[in-house]
């Protein structure tokens, strides 16, 4: 025992859980494992959700209809991360961006690489860079990152979904 007076000790808590992604997200992830991105469409307001959670909170209804999307989109917004995050293997600085796929009405966070950091901007068009097919699993990590794809930027005002009218 050390002579030093200790004012606390660490008592770890360990609990094991079997997580589930949910039925809607499971369907999505199974398609991702085949290299496809399949969103779900709201039967009322037509908003397309990707990744889907099984509902449209705009309308309070379940989303059933599946819509296959391309692996191309644009940057709704982004941040350049300069600090290492515990448990995250990516070496800073790196770009973490809200990616809006073409035809989708919500964004998801993913990485952007193969770009000079000073060139990244809101509205920039990007496309997915997939891992080798042999490494595909039921996770969006099948996409290594997104990279610039060229073409005209998106007008950011177009990101706001306003409903079917």
């Amino acid at each position: 025992m050390s002579e030093e007076k200790k004012d606390h000790f660490i008592s770890p808590i360990s609990l094991d859980y079997n997580y589930t992604a949910g039925a809607a997200t499971t369907r999505f992830l199974k398609k991702v494992s085949e290299g496809k991105i399949v969103g779900q469409k709201c039967p009322k307001c037509t908003a397309v959700y990707v990744p889907p959670r099984g509902s449209c909170p705009r309308c309070g209804v379940a989303t059933e209809e599946e819509v296959e999307l391309v692996d191309k989109g644009s940057v709704e917004s982004f941040t350049i991360v300069h600090i290492p995050i515990p448990g995250n293997p990516i070496v800073p600085p790196y770009v973490c961006a809200m990616i809006r796929l073409e035809g989708a009405n919500i964004s998801f966070l993913h990485l952007i690489q193969e770009i000079d950091l000073k060139d990244i901007r809101i509205g920039m068009r990007v496309e997915a860079v997939w891992k080798d097919k042999s490494e595909w699993d039921t996770t969006l990590e099948n996409i290594k990152w997104f990279k610039p794809s060229g073409g005209d930027d998106i007008d950011p005002s177009e990101y706001r979904f306003k409903g079917p009218e």
Binding site: L15, A23, R58, C59, G60
Partner: protein
């Protein structure tokens, strides 16, 4: 409290394991069902409140995930208790009593299948000197069962009879998870989990969700749904330090039954949040329910969705009062080791 009416209640069939269903997929069917029962939509609801607990699923913000099951465009007046949804109902009743709310949606949901419930519930106890011992929920309950047995308040036979009666009732409840009672021989031979309790004495690990709509008298009348009202509700909590509590009785429940003037009420039907066989026997005696039909739904022994089971006791009492020609109902909800925190509601069939 103002006169508050229950106008709808729905419960998912209780499952041992809801498999791949996420929070949204658990909640949406019951919310849609209470809207179907009333012809209302989220836009007719003034306030929404839910009950859930992150530790059951093992992920922070379960209620945030669950909110995606509800229509929130335009944004809604909404809150959440990290408690059984019976306390979400209580919050809604306060809102309605304040006068700025006419109608409220309540939902509760829980999945106990993803983790080990016995270990998880240990985290409810004092973090410095009790929870590191990982005393499980059944052992706490067994402490009280032993005390009650030794005091002669209850007997082993009564515990067995309570199981048999619950399972008999559960046979007519389509949502019940279990409805088979053991024979006396099986019950006696069954290995103890924590003496004196075996698996038949303990509510099953369950997954599910429930929803309810409550409102003012005028709101209920306009819908022609003014059948069951909540006359009175009260709740309280006992000490965290189990060593200071007298487990042969319940100061909490005695106090609440005085507040409800229970001795002068002729209670026709009661649904008790009794998660162990001895609690059924104990609470019946403590609350003077000898001539009352208790847990006609089968009660928690037939299915016990954590964070919804208290609301279910209220919902099952509502369903009974609505459909049967009786007047007074009593509902109970509880939380914590050995009935530490309790709520009692007196409900009345109006017509």
């Amino acid at each position: 409290m103002k006169d508050i009416y229950i106008i709808a209640y729905a419960q998912n069939p209780i499952l041992a394991d809801a498999k791949a269903a996420n929070e949204v997929e658990l909640i949406m069917p019951v919310v849609h069902e209470v809207f179907r029962q009333t012809g209302l939509s989220q836009k007719d609801i003034d306030f929404t409140c839910s009950g859930s607990c992150d530790y059951l699923q093992g992920a922070a913000f379960a209620f945030v995930e669950g909110l995606s099951a509800i229509q929130t465009n335009p944004p809604i007046k909404e809150s959440h208790v990290e408690m059984d949804a019976a306390w979400a109902l209580y919050e809604c009743m306060l809102k309605i009593s304040s006068g700025d709310t006419e109608s409220a949606l309540i939902y509760g949901f829980g999945r106990s299948s993803p983790g080990n419930l016995d270990s998880i519930i240990s985290l409810q106890t004092d973090p410095y000197y009790l929870s590191p011992l990982w005393v499980d929920r059944i052992s706490y309950a067994a402490l009280q069962a032993n005390t009650l047995l030794q005091h002669g308040t209850i007997s082993h036979d009564e515990m067995y009879d309570a199981i048999v009666e619950s399972m008999e009732f559960a046979k007519s409840n389509p949502n019940a998870l279990v409805s088979n009672a053991p024979s006396k021989e099986e019950y006696v031979a069954e290995q103890k989990l924590s003496t004196p309790l075996n698996k038949f004495d303990v509510a099953p690990v369950s997954d599910g969700a429930s929803a309810m709509i409550i409102c003012t008298k005028d709101f209920a009348k306009n819908l022609n749904l003014d059948h069951v009202k909540i006359n009175q509700v009260c709740h309280n909590i006992e000490s965290s330090n189990i060593g200071t509590r007298d487990l042969s009785t319940s100061t909490s429940l005695l106090d609440l039954s005085t507040k409800l003037n229970l001795t002068n009420l002729s209670v026709d039907i009661a649904e008790l949040h009794s998660q162990y066989s001895h609690e059924i026997v104990f609470l019946k005696k403590l609350l003077g329910l000898d001539n009352t039909s208790v847990n006609a739904s089968g009660g928690p022994l037939s299915g016990n969705v954590m964070m919804a089971a208290g609301l279910d006791c209220i919902g099952k009492t509502y369903e009974y009062l609505k459909s049967k020609d009786v007047t007074n109902g009593l509902a109970h909800a509880t939380s914590g080791p050995c009935l530490q925190q309790n709520m009692l509601l007196h409900m009345e069939r109006v017509k």
